[in-house]
């Protein structure tokens, strides 16, 4: 990916950015985030199908912010996370430059939020055919089966909060699980605590999640958290025709309403 390295070098040389957040070779055949702040290190940058981590998660990290203006090597969901963060007042127009590689393998410089909007506008619907099919598979299960399925999954939860840490949109400086007056979510990772934590995590991402899947990938005990997010993504789209991470100035699904929202479940 020479183009990528050259652009990174150019920007670092010209002090246009102080930092390039990208991917480099990790342990075994994995890739990992890298923070290139000196032009000498650009050779470590790479971009391929393994680069799935949503690097937008690093934009709000104080340690990273301190390093100065950043360029972000971004895949599609990372770009959408950037827009969503902008829509939630977390980053401004001039806080970040993004570099992406389009399906044709060409390097694209998206230097404004507007440019990102135009690029993601053509992206495919949030849920792929396979994802829809899998979701439906679970939706079709009986209620008791669904309960058993999720109880089994959640019983493994360690409350390590890797899902939260890996999520670019879980940026609260104090998460609700850390409120203890009142104690909204039990701290212990027992079954009740795990259920409540997971309901809350999913609800707090409703209308915000960009379906990057990092929560599931981060989970050390393989809880399919993406199913919960995708359930809400599809409900948000079906009911409110909304998609998160598509615009830098979008109002949130849950902080807005339409007088004719469906209410067939209300007596």
């Amino acid at each position: 990916m020479e183009a990528l390295k050259n652009k990174a070098r150019e920007w670092l040389d010209s002090r246009m950015v102080q930092l390039v957040i990208g991917y480099s070779q990790g342990s075994g055949d994995s890739v990992r985030a890298v923070f290139v702040h000196d032009p000498g290190q650009v050779e470590t940058l790479l971009f391929d199908s393994r680069c799935r981590q949503n690097l937008a998660v690093y934009l709000l990290k104080p340690e990273v912010k301190k390093m100065g203006k950043a360029a972000l090597v971004a895949n599609l969901t990372t770009l959408r996370a950037v827009l969503q963060l902008a829509a939630e007042n977390q980053i401004g127009e001039h806080d970040v430059l993004t570099l992406t590689v389009n399906p044709a393998g060409e390097l694209l410089v998206l230097s404004t939020l507007e440019a990102i909007e135009t690029y993601v506008a053509i992206s495919a619907p949030d849920l792929s055919v396979e994802e829809k099919a899998e979701l439906e598979k679970y939706e079709k299960l009986g209620m008791e089966e669904r309960w058993q399925f999720w109880q089994e999954q959640f019983s493994r939860c360690l409350k390590c909060y890797a899902c939260r840490a890996a999520c670019p949109l879980c940026y609260c400086s104090r998460c609700t699980v850390e409120c203890n007056q009142p104690q909204w979510i039990p701290v212990p990772a027992h079954d009740l605590g795990n259920l409540e934590w997971n309901v809350m995590r999913a609800m707090h991402l409703a209308g915000r999640c960009v379906n990057c899947g990092d929560c599931s990938r981060a989970c050390p005990v393989n809880i399919p958290l993406y199913l919960l997010n995708q359930k809400l993504i599809s409900d948000v789209f079906r009911n409110f025709n909304a998609r998160s991470g598509m615009a830098a100035k979008a109002e949130n699904t849950l902080s807005t309403f339409k007088p004719n929202d469906k209410e067939d479940f209300i007596r």
Binding site: G26, S27, G28, S30, V31, R32, A33, V34, F35, Q53, V57, Y58, K61, P62, E63, V64, R156, L158, K159, C160, Y161, A162, R164, A165, A166, R174, E178, P186, V187, P188, A189, H190, G193, D214, R217, A218, P220, V221, N222
Partner: protein, 341 residues
């Protein structure tokens, strides 16, 4: 005591399982569910999976579970009555199929829980636990037991260590008194070894840094903020590493009650969390992830050796495997060992 060497066939082992159950013991062993191999309660050998290099979680959960009740209480107007956890009610446990590194880890764990004022519940659980390990035939790039004084066939910590020597047979090393009792209880299942050896069946794990260098290097690097910032930059500050770690012992105490009754619970905690050291005043002595990452390594490689006279790491590599952002502890330790000071 002198290590006794025997062999046992898979079938015999299967029967030993039923003997354990019959004797009212619960068996905790690696079990495969989907892609995931992790410790779970089993009733027969056939449920057990031994192909993996390592389980996701460590067997510490046998005696230091993620949530445990310490005591329960009742209030009546203004009096409170407390019922302590009845220790005699705890079950006997056999942890089967743990790796030599895991067995060694219990020493570090015990060192913390019995240091200064011993933890009754932990000690009681420890007493009622027998460790029947299985040595490692395979290792991966995350393994570094040999760099921290262990090995794929190391016997430290285990009561019995089995090694798969092929043709459905395991070489059994009887290491402790508990081990011997286990063999006696399983009358005749364990046979004389007749000169069989395990070495050729063990994984090769090449030492990758000099442990001797780590502790002094840490002391020298303590104030090198740039070094720690560089090391920890991609760390997200989750608790995955601590929760899968066989020696991490940090815990939180939570009271859960409603109406006029409740219980006090102990649950895992992690020094990686940003609020771990947050004071009521709002001050946080470790505001940066780099400081929290440093703390994790200092604790394992400097503070524990100094206070508990035992290393806080056994080189199982779980933290590296579990890390969402590929914080490979082995790399970091190498860097520390090789740092110019």
């Amino acid at each position: 005591m002198e290590i006794e060497i025997k062999v046992i066939s898979r079938d015999a082992l299967e029967r030993v399982f039923s003997l354990w159950l019959a004797a009212g013991k619960r068996i905790l062993a690696p079990k495969k569910t989907g892609e995931l191999v992790d410790f779970a309660w089993v009733t027969q050998l056939s449920e057990v999976c031994l192909d993996q290099v390592q389980t996701v979680q460590s067997p510490k959960l046998a005696i230091f579970p993620k949530v445990e009740e310490l005591f329960s209480y009742q209030t009546a107007f203004d009096q409170v009555t407390i019922q302590d956890r009845p220790l005699e009610a705890l079950e006997e446990i056999v942890v089967f199929g743990l790796r030599p590194c895991d067995a060694a880890a219990f020493a570090s764990l015990a060192a913390i829980f019995t240091w200064d004022s011993p933890d009754q519940l932990f000690s009681a659980r420890f007493e009622k636990m027998t460790l029947v390990g299985v040595s490692c035939a395979r290792a991966d790039e995350y393994c570094f037991c040999t760099s921290v004084g262990g090995g794929p066939g190391a016997t430290t910590g285990s009561d019995i260590l089995l090694t798969d020597i092929g043709s459905g047979e395991y070489l059994a090393e009887i290491i402790s008194e508990k081990g011997r009792q286990t063999v006696q209880a399983a009358a005749g299942k364990f046979q004389p070894a007749a000169g069989k050896e395990k070495e050729s069946h063990l994984a090769k794990v090449v030492p990758s840094f000099a442990l001797a260098k780590i502790t002094p290097a840490l002391a020298a690097l303590f104030d090198d903020d740039a070094f720690w910032a560089e090391q920890s930059r991609r760390c997200l500050g989750c608790g995955a590493c601590a929760y899968v770690c066989p020696t991490c012992a940090c815990f939180d105490i939570q009271d859960e009650g409603a109406g006029d009754s409740g219980k006090r619970l102990r649950c895992w905690d992690s020094c990686g969390f940003s609020m771990f050291t947050l004071h009521t005043s709002g001050h946080n002595p470790r505001p940066l992830q780099s400081q929290r990452w440093r703390q994790r390594l200092m604790h394992k490689f400097a503070y524990m050796p100094e206070r508990q006279k035992v290393l806080g790491c056994v080189g199982c590599g779980r933290c590296s495997r579990a890390c969402p952002v590929d914080m490979n502890v082995l790399e970091h330790l190498r860097a520390i060992a090789e740092a110019k000071i």
